[in-house]
């Protein structure tokens, strides 16, 4: 599974609070605003350049001088939460859905 940012979500910072804000085209896919902690915002900033969750894990593994497998569980929960709420898209699931829709 590969997580990517859903197009139309914007990371903003208001008085030190990081927020994910949805543009109108994606208002139906996720809540309009969500507070996120600093670590999550740091992940988001990496992904804003078109990078995936794997790139984020590798970047932080390098920073923390640990193996990607060691830190993966902590980051996986972040990606899963944001995907569940609609801010990230999971490319494998989407492609499966598309395949199923094509078949049906």
């Amino acid at each position: 599974m590969t997580y990517r940012i859903r197009p139309g979500i914007v990371l903003i910072n208001i008085c030190g609070q990081n927020l994910l804000a949805a543009t109108r085209p994606v208002w139906e896919q996720c809540p309009r605003v969500r507070k996120i902690p600093r670590l999550w915002a740091a992940c988001w900033k990496i992904m804003e350049d078109g990078k995936t969750d794997q790139d984020v894990i590798e970047a932080f593994a390098g920073l923390l001088q640990k193996k990607p497998e060691e830190i993966r569980p902590r980051f996986e929960s972040i990606f899963q939460t944001l995907e569940k709420e609609g801010y990230l898209i999971c490319e494998d699931i989407d492609s499966k859905k598309e395949t199923q829709e094509t078949i049906s």
């Binding site: 914007v10 903003i12 910072n13 208001i14 008085c15 030190g16 609070q17 927020l19 804000a21 949805a22 543009t23 109108r24 208002w27 309009r32 605003v33 507070k35």
Partner: protein, 250 residues
């Protein structure tokens, strides 16, 4: 069905606060609702032009029934605010009260009790409070970092209005709860609510970023409290005490 090409209800020049722009209406009768800020009809847009999004008129029809001049008037608030955001101003969802040349906002979604709290404060202290706008005032960020609270045509169902503009001194984020309580919020904890109280189309990243900048300006200019209300007038008294205490620090 609504389209950008029609129906066409006329072009009007408008002045809201210091801002001059044009409205392009679908319905000629919409001008009547905004007559307080319209300065004359025109044949062509010379400056910025505000028009209600046809998708919003269609959504109104889905939810409320047939869209007409009143719907267009209500919906015009959003593109107006969108235009203002480019000039460090916006339309803000709150009731705006004036006391001793200072402005206080009670912000909440529709039906939570903004108007009821306004009425309560007005009836308890009629000599002290007046209403700038009962539902959606214009907020304007000034170079000296104060935010001015100004009248707008969107006064709410009760049409509460009349007082002149004043500098913003505090915001109450109103919610209903099991007890009457007022708690001062850290700026970061109020950020999402203030951002969501700003009318904006959210059409693209630039629109979101402008609203965020405005929210930061508002938060830097005044304190914010979470006002939880179980019953009125007890919660209105809490707001009054807060206002009185804060005035001593200004």
């Amino acid at each position: 069905m609504h389209s950008d090409k029609g129906p066409f209800g006329g072009l009007w020049r408008a002045r809201l606060g210091d801002f001059v722009f044009s409205y392009r209406f679908f319905y000629p009768e919409t001008a009547g609702y905004l007559s307080g800020i319209l300065t004359g009809q025109e044949t062509a847009c010379e400056g910025p032009c505000v028009a209600v999004d046809t998708r919003d008129l269609a959504l109104w029809e889905e939810k409320e029934g047939k869209a007409g001049p009143f719907a267009e008037f209500c919906l015009a608030c959003m593109p107006t605010s969108e235009l203002l955001l480019g000039h460090d101003a916006c339309i803000f969802h709150a009731a705006a009260l004036r006391r001793k040349d200072r402005a206080w906002l009670i912000a909440a979604g529709s039906g939570v009790g903004k108007t009821t709290h306004c009425r309560s404060l007005l009836s308890l202290w009629p000599e002290e409070f007046s209403v700038i706008n009962g539902d959606k005032p214009l907020l304007k960020a000034c170079p000296d970092e104060t935010v001015m609270v100004c009248p707008s045509p969107w006064n709410g169902k009760e049409g509460m209005k009349g007082a002149e503009e004043a500098p913003l001194s505090g915001i109450f984020l109103l919610s209903r709860g099991e007890e009457n309580r007022v708690v001062r919020l850290k700026k970061e904890d109020a950020a999402a609510s203030i951002f969501l109280s700003i009318f904006q189309s959210g059409r693209d990243k630039e629109s979101i970023v402008l609203a965020a900048k405005m929210a930061e300006g508002i938060l830097e200019s005044c304190p914010v409290w979470l006002l939880t209300s179980r019953d009125i007038p007890a919660s209105a008294y809490l707001a009054y005490e807060c206002i009185s205490e804060e005035e001593h620090t200004i």
